[in-house]
């Protein structure tokens, strides 16, 4: 009695309040108890498994985003200090962004799709824009230890391996006789990683250079005469036993004088356009 009265009321309710349970897309089993029969159970299980496979397949199609056309990105990015080797780092990093969150220098930013799906949401540092000051705050907070914990002492700094600085002697003011030395004054390990020669010409000691990029950020020449070759583009001399492949042979092309000249001429063109 009471119930039928409510139904009458409900039919007068606005359209959006009315029941949609009788829509034709409603699955058949939605109102059925599980204690139907074995046929119903089987039908239910088959529908469920079909949906699981469909969902998994739909998700597995997403990596096709990798093949979207995209602009050539800025290849020379660095990982934060204490990062594991690149392949292990990608595996360990969850992309939670805690390192970027605690960075007081605002040098860590997160990747989008510009370098492909593999680097999505992982941290990067662009040294020329904002270099790492090696405060090691990011290494302390990483929840998955993709960044190994380091202390901001000299030993901690020595353990960092983000890349190696390379001087382009053709661009450097000091090498052309105009004494500069700005990179030396920016270096966190002056006298070790970066020594000065005659007319304050920078000389890199690859054994000590951690690749923080402070010299690259400080360089007064435009484009920068000193730049960091990131570790993932570096042909690690400790791993020379491997056969050189396209991947690990990239430093040769970077350090190759010819390509450096090519890069330089490109930069000169662009700087000419900006500042004729």
């Amino acid at each position: 009695m009471f119930g039928s009265g409510y139904i009458h009321e409900k039919n007068n309710s606005p359209k959006f309040m009315q029941s949609r349970a009788s829509s034709p897309r409603e699955p058949l089993l939605d109102n059925t108890r599980m204690n139907g029969g074995w046929k119903q159970k089987l039908l239910y299980r088959v529908t469920f498994l079909k949906s699981v496979v469909l969902g998994a397949a739909a998700t597995f199609l997403l990596p096709l985003l990798e093949f979207l056309p995209r602009k050539a990105g800025f290849k020379r990015w660095l990982r934060p200090p204490g990062a594991l080797p690149e392949s292990e780092f990608i595996k360990a990093c969850t992309g939670c962004g805690q390192c970027a969150n605690v960075c007081p220098n605002k040098c860590i930013s997160l990747f989008g799709l510009e370098e492909g799906l593999g680097l999505l949401a992982t941290p990067k540092i662009q040294a020329r824009a904002q270099a790492c000051i090696l405060c090691m705050a990011c290494t302390q907070v990483c929840p998955t230890d993709a960044l190994e914990k380091l202390e901001p002492t000299e030993e901690g700094i020595r353990a960092v391996n983000m890349g190696i600085a390379v001087v382009s002697e053709d661009l450097c003011y000091s090498y052309s006789g105009r004494t500069c030395g700005v990179c030396y004054r920016a270096c966190p390990l002056p006298g070790k990683a970066l020594r000065l020669g005659l007319y304050e010409t920078p000389i890199i000691n690859e054994e000590f250079c951690v690749g923080c990029g402070l010299c690259e950020q400080a360089c007064v020449h435009m484009p920068q005469a000193i730049r960091i070759v990131p570790r993932h583009q570096l042909n690690d001399p400790l791993q020379q036993t491997e056969e050189p492949t396209k991947e690990n042979n990239r430093l040769d092309s970077v350090l190759d004088r010819r390509s450096f000249l090519k890069v330089r001429s490109k930069f000169h063109q662009s700087s000419d356009q900006v500042n004729p």
Binding site: F2, G3, S4, Y6, I7, K10, F16, M17, S19, A21, R25, E26, P27, D30, N31, T32, R33, M34, T47, F48, L49, K50, S51, V52, L54, G55, A56, A57, A58, T59, F60, L62, P63, E88, I90, K91, A92, T94, G95, G97, Q98, N101, V102, C103, P104, N105, K106, S109, L110, G112, L113, L117, G118, L119, L120, A121, Q140, V141, P143, T144
Partner: protein, 314 residues
């Protein structure tokens, strides 16, 4: 608890607080930068203006209550995906699965972070979805918009089998296993919101995750109310499964319930049927308690056996 409006208001407030927390955490890098560069309110005002000075001073004041302001500020960080608040880590179960699939090992702090979310799911069920998830605030408002637009337009109400979300979870894990990297910031709505907020406020750029939020929102508007939460979000499915025998859930007083009423099942954003004592997947949002004509529904501890219906197993 009997009042559905209380639940609704509390859930909106808590979700707003989570969104504000995300915004604040993204903006906190600014404070850290000022602290390291100037460490002086006057210098902050000179370099960045009066509003920044107020922000700086208030943040400094707040964090000074807990000790050294810089250290305390650095104890916070992350997104809903994996976050630390005052040094206490919280880890998303899906993030733990993805790290296991990619890296085959987990750090102890990461495992400890799982305790909070799992305990919450075991006690309150799928409560994350309507009280914490930052994306569900968006989907909640879209469902209200949809309800408004239904006066003039027709939108279909699609339903998928709930296995689809399990499929998304399995597919995402397979991507982790096969390629060694995750695509979760495109798949999970709350992670996408976190990324978008972080990119927008900390770097001033538009994150690619924004486009997945747009896709989810369109699906929500056109295909069904809270379609993403029900059928696409793997975290919600996982938490619903973990909390399927949760201690606290929606309880019906059977003698007072009307036959053939079905108001609660119609309004439920998770499309469960409280009138059939179905409690799996209930996110305690309180919408059914508002519409129930006899107020026979309440949120209460449930002890004893539960009825299992076909819908609740999906």
């Amino acid at each position: 608890m009997r009042s559905g409006y209380t639940c609704l208001i509390v859930s909106i407030i808590t979700r707003l607080m989570v969104v504000l927390l995300l915004c604040y955490l993204a903006f906190m890098t600014e404070y850290l930068n000022f602290k390291l560069a100037h460490n002086n309110a006057r210098l902050v005002e000179l370099s960045a203006g009066k509003p920044m000075r107020i922000f700086y001073e208030q943040t400094e004041k707040f964090f000074s209550m807990f000790g050294d302001p810089l250290e305390t500020a650095q104890k916070n960080g992350g997104m809903t995906w994996s976050i630390r608040i005052m040094g206490v880590p919280f880890t998303d179960p899906v993030s733990a699965i993805s790290v296991l699939a990619k890296n085959h090992r987990m750090e102890i702090g990461f495992v400890l972070g799982l305790i909070g979310p799992l305990a919450l799911a075991l006690v309150f069920g799928r409560v994350f979805c309507s009280y914490i998830c930052s994306a569900s605030l968006l989907f909640f408002s879209i469902s209200r918009l949809r309800r408004l637009l239904l006066k003039w337009f027709y939108f279909p109400e699609w339903s998928l089998n709930r296995g689809f979300a399990w499929g998304v979870l399995i597919g995402g894990t397979l991507v982790c296993l096969a390629f060694g990297h995750g695509i979760w910031s495109l798949l999970l709505p709350y992670f996408a919101v976190g990324q978008t907020v972080f990119h927008g406020l900390a770097f001033g750029t538009l994150s690619v995750s924004f486009f997945s939020i747009v896709v989810f929102s369109i699906a929500d508007l056109l295909l069904g109310k809270q379609f993403t939460c029900r059928y696409l979000c793997p975290t919600g499915r996982l938490l619903g499964w973990i909390g399927r025998r949760s201690l606290v859930s929606i309880r019906r007083e059977a003698p007072r319930c009307l036959e053939n009423c079905n108001a609660c099942a119609d309004i439920c954003p998770m499309r469960i049927k409280p009138n059939q004592d179905e409690t799996v997947d209930c996110s305690l949002c309180g919408e059914c308690m508002i519409v129930c004509p006899t107020k026979c529904l309440s949120i209460a501890p449930i002890i004893g056996k539960r009825k299992v219906t076909a819908g609740s197993l999906k």
